[in-house]
């Protein structure tokens, strides 16, 4: 079972009445990035739009930069720039060293000192952990990306057309 959305905590975008896609993803995972790109296409193509939430599932054993990247996205969220940072992190997936994360914060016009302090702070990591634990608690998230459509795990492929078909059901 997908852990229910918490609108005060989850990163959500799109109209509230639209069908919901939740992605558990990892910023260093090429497939998570691909899935996000496909979801963006679905957002553009579906007339009524899509409600989309992203949850962190950094695979720290195989992706050394994944956790720091998730933390950076959360630190950006503290300055209301989650989605911009999210986009940037996937776009620059191969450049996720600490100094590079700092550059991205500057690029987005964030208060870099604040970003740096938030990025390594306990609250940001607790927020990431909350997503990881919700994925594990679902019993469905074994890797990334794992997508849920309207609360049910999506076992098919995640190209835009397949997602559109699944949303139409």
């Amino acid at each position: 079972m997908m852990q229910p959305l918490d609108e005060t905590v989850d990163h959500l975008r799109g109209p509230a009445a639209a069908p919901l896609i939740v992605e558990y993803g990892d910023y260093e995972c090429p497939y998570s990035r691909q899935a996000f790109r496909e979801i963006e296409r679905v957002e553009k193509q579906l007339p009524g739009g899509v409600r989309f939430a992203f949850r962190h599932f950094p695979l720290t054993e195989i992706h050394p930069h994944a956790l720091a990247a998730s933390a950076a996205a959360e630190a950006a969220a503290h300055q209301q720039q989650f989605w911009n940072m999210h986009e940037l992190l996937f776009h620059r997936q191969h450049a996720l060293e600490e100094d590079e994360l700092r550059t991205y914060a500057a690029e987005l016009g964030l208060d870099v000192a604040q970003f740096e302090s938030d990025r390594t702070g306990a609250s940001v990591l607790a927020r990431v952990r909350r997503d990881v634990e919700s994925g594990i608690a679902s019993g469905e998230v074994q890797g990334t990306p794992t997508l849920f459509i309207d609360g049910s795990v999506h076992t098919g492929s995640y190209d835009a057309q397949t997602l559109l078909d699944a949303l139409a059901r």
């Binding site: 990881v132 469905e140 459509i149």
Partner: protein, 350 residues
């Protein structure tokens, strides 16, 4: 469960999952109920073994059409059809007919006949192991000729002949010929001529399974065939269910009970030692072609569990995602390593 309706065709093409039901005459209601549940689950395949000389079994070729008639999406296959007891041209016609009648839901598992003396007891030919392989090879040629669009076909083999036979009807879809094979010579035949390899875990060990896959890959490449084009199907024997394993003696005739030793638990699913989902994933991963797995279900609940495991395996075998290393199946009992790492990095012990 939520899996229904969520299968994209592309995922199905990667991995299919099914059940075997035993064609026991005395247990028909249960058999029909199981097939219906499998159809609705939805699983992909139902295999029916073909042991004509088992006096308490129904004839497989008579049973399959009745099951096709009241299912809508699941495919049925002979697991595996006994060649010595049926002329291949007639078998081809029966297979094509079932495929047409069911809208393309029949596949042909085919075997050379494991017990020559028993085949002979019903009037079949008594063949040595070597002769059986030769006869099977001829039979595959004959079957394909009978599925062709030729006006007339002739074949002059040592075991089978056709003399101006008229092929038809053509199958509704390209029926797979999946050969039950265990010995190297049969493996080479599979690699040369068959559409799939259909061994059984339990008859083969996992190491032998791996070796067999490699033999087929190598022989296929030698024969100029893409190894991936040869389907790999595994019969898995064991009990899948949520409760404690019932004693063997309490199971209906012919149903498979798995190991008698207490099975380890993972995520609420009792698994037979050796055939855990993790072991299955390992067996199915690797360079060979996509696999089909069929497990033995003795209860409707087991079918639903199989469906859940099928989803889990489908996800884990995908090549378009990153996986947690050594993820525990179903993930509930243990903290994941990633969560543990996170806890460490935040200094939390919770």
């Amino acid at each position: 469960m939520s899996a229904s309706g969520s299968h994209a065709d592309s995922a199905r093409a990667d991995l299919e999952f099914g059940i075997a039901v035993v064609p026991a005459t005395e247990d028909l209601d249960r058999l029909r109920a199981l097939v219906r549940v499998a159809d609705e689950a939805p699983l992909d395949l139902v295999g029916i073994q073909d042991y004509a000389y088992q006096h308490h079994f129904l004839d497989t070729w008579s049973l399959i059409p009745t099951l096709l008639a009241y299912t809508t999406r699941i495919a049925l296959f002979t697991d595996v059809a006994n060649l010595p007891l049926r002329p291949p041209a007639v078998m081809a016609k029966a297979a094509a007919s079932l495929d047409v009648l069911s809208g393309g839901r029949f596949e042909l598992g085919l075997g050379a006949g494991a017990f020559p003396n028993i085949a002979a007891s019903m009037g079949g030919p008594r063949r040595t192991a070597g002769e059986s392989v030769e006869a099977l090879e001829e039979a595959i040629d004959v079957i394909r000729m009978m599925w062709s669009r030729e006006r007339e076909v002739s074949f002059d083999g040592r075991y089978y002949t056709l003399d101006g036979a008229r092929p038809g009807p053509q199958p509704a879809h390209p029926i797979g010929i999946w050969v039950g094979a265990f010995r190297p010579r049969m493996m080479r035949l599979v690699a040369r001529k068959a559409d799939g390899w259909l061994p059984s875990l339990g008859v083969l060990t996992r190491a032998e399974l791996r070796a067999g896959n490699e033999q087929i890959d190598a022989a296929a490449a030698e024969a100029g065939r893409e190894p991936r084009s040869i389907r790999r199907i595994i019969n898995v024997q064991g009990l899948i269910g949520d409760g404690p394993a019932p004693p063997r003696s309490s199971l209906p005739v012919g149903y498979l009970a798995g190991s008698r030793s207490p099975a380890p638990r993972a995520g609420g699913v009792r698994r037979s030692p050796g055939w855990s989902p993790t072991a299955l994933t390992r067996s199915c991963s690797g360079p060979s072609s996509p696999h089909r797995i069929r497990s033995s279900c003795s209860q409707a609940r087991s079918c639903r569990t199989s469906s859940r495991i099928a989803d889990s395996l489908r996800l884990r075998l995908r090549r378009d995602r990153c996986d947690r290393p050594q993820a525990s199946w179903a993930g509930r009992p243990k903290r994941s390593k990633s969560a543990a790492n996170l806890a460490r990095s935040t200094g939390s012990s919770g």
